[in-house]
């Protein structure tokens, strides 16, 4: 095949690839348009849907930014029931993303939810269990939490075999609480 023939043959050879690329792009754009809202809604629900279990009695929330943290004012109707703080930090394997529920004065932890984690299956990923998360409810925020075996006021019973994951969760909460405690208390609706 001569040089000129080969060049004129490029399009003849590649037209199928080009046509398929255009066709598939259009199809993907269509799928994206059809599903985009639903996917965004799922992501929103993954956070907002957790608010009622993190702050007892809450029925919804309003998102805001405080000091770089995403914070939700948890509401019962038009009244504030508490706060939900989105926080993240290093775990044993990868970043852990979680939501902490606080009362309106940010003095007591009311709940904990894990949004994303890649801890060791069977050990560290037990931080997702209701049993472990329940150990945080009712803890005061005036002293930093730490993992331990005894249940002192500021100690969280660690998961056996996953002390680092348990400690990471405590650290993430401590950092967020230290940064936000006073600000949230000041921002709470008066009278709470």
């Amino acid at each position: 095949m001569t040089e000129t023939k080969r060049q004129s043959g490029y399009f003849a050879q590649a037209w199928l690839v080009i046509a398929l690329a255009l066709g598939f792009s259009a199809a993907l754009a269509g799928v994206d348009v059809a599903l985009r809202d639903r996917i965004a809604d799922n992501k929103r629900k993954a956070t907002f849907g957790k608010i009622p279990e993190l702050v007892p009695g809450a029925t919804g929330g309003v998102a805001m930014e405080v000091d770089g943290y995403t914070v939700y004012r948890a509401m019962v109707g038009a009244r504030q029931a508490g706060w939900v703080v989105r926080a993240a930090g290093q775990g044993y394997a990868d970043r852990i993303e979680l939501l902490v529920g606080l009362d309106a004065r940010a003095e007591t932890i009311t709940g904990l939810a894990i949004l994303d984690q890649k801890e060791t299956p069977g050990l560290g990923d037990n931080i997702r269990t209701p049993e472990f998360r329940g150990r945080f409810a009712g803890k005061k925020t005036d002293r930093p939490l730490q993992p331990g075996s005894k249940t002192a006021d500021n100690e969280i019973q660690a998961i056996s075999g996953a002390t680092i994951s348990s400690g990471s969760v405590c650290t993430i909460i401590n950092d967020a609480v230290a940064a936000l405690r006073e600000k949230l208390a000041a921002m709470a609706e008066p009278g709470l």
């Binding site: 199928l16 599903l35 994303d116 069977g122």
Partner: protein, 209 residues
């Protein structure tokens, strides 16, 4: 060219056991190790692979007479990538929890050799019906393979099957089974068993290529 190719029924049946993608061809082993620590994840993966495989085989079969030999792999990859992206979006929209659990392994179906192998071996040479039968057979074979590994790992590692408790409370959960080593051990033993069974059946004739 299609005259000496297997029929649609043969294609379907071969995919399930004699040419099982995992146990006989040893293709697609990465997801079969990564997402088989519970049945739900394994079956979501199997369904996604089935969707992509069937669509890619049909598409390839439709355009098989237009394919240029040196551009065919590019066309296969393009086709597969498009359908994988669609599957990924549908999972994120309708099964968000599974989508989060499977993470990168759904997009990685693009590089799953089973699909490109079927496009090359069957769909680029045979008609729509045979290609569809081939895709369904291979998908069923792959689903059975994933199910066998996930069943062993979930029951021994978490004492559940599809999330339902199946083992007595006194049985200790073997934590290693849901960790990566458990995947290699299970796949290795099952692969060995499958090979042993196949060679026992076809003795003493030579191994099929």
């Amino acid at each position: 060219m299609a005259n000496n190719q297997p029929t649609a029924l043969e294609r379907f049946l071969r995919g399930i056991l004699p040419e099982n993608p995992l146990y006989r061809q040893v293709l697609g082993t990465c997801p079969s190790l990564a997402v088989t620590n519970n049945m739900k994840a394994a079956m979501t993966m199997a369904a996604s692979v089935a969707f992509v495989l069937i669509c890619a085989n049909l598409m390839t079969s439709l355009i098989r007479n237009l394919l240029k030999p040196h551009l065919r792999i590019l066309v296969f990859t393009l086709t597969i990538a498009a359908f994988v992206t669609i599957a990924d979006s549908f999972l994120a929209a309708f099964l968000p929890e599974m989508s989060a659990e499977l993470g990168p392994y759904i997009p990685l179906i693009i590089v799953n050799c089973i699909i490109i192998c079927r496009c090359e071996v069957c769909a680029s040479k045979q008609g729509l019906f045979a290609s569809a039968a081939d895709a369904v057979g291979q998908s069923v074979g792959y689903a059975l393979a994933l199910a066998s590994i996930a069943t062993v790992r979930e029951i021994l590692g978490m004492k559940t099957w599809f999330g339902l408790p199946v083992m007595p409370g006194s049985f200790p959960a073997w934590g290693i089974m849901i960790l990566p080593p458990g995947a290699f051990i299970t796949l290795g033993l099952l692969l060995g068993a499958a090979n042993w069974a196949a060679s026992a059946r076809s003795k003493p004739s030579a191994k099929p290529s």
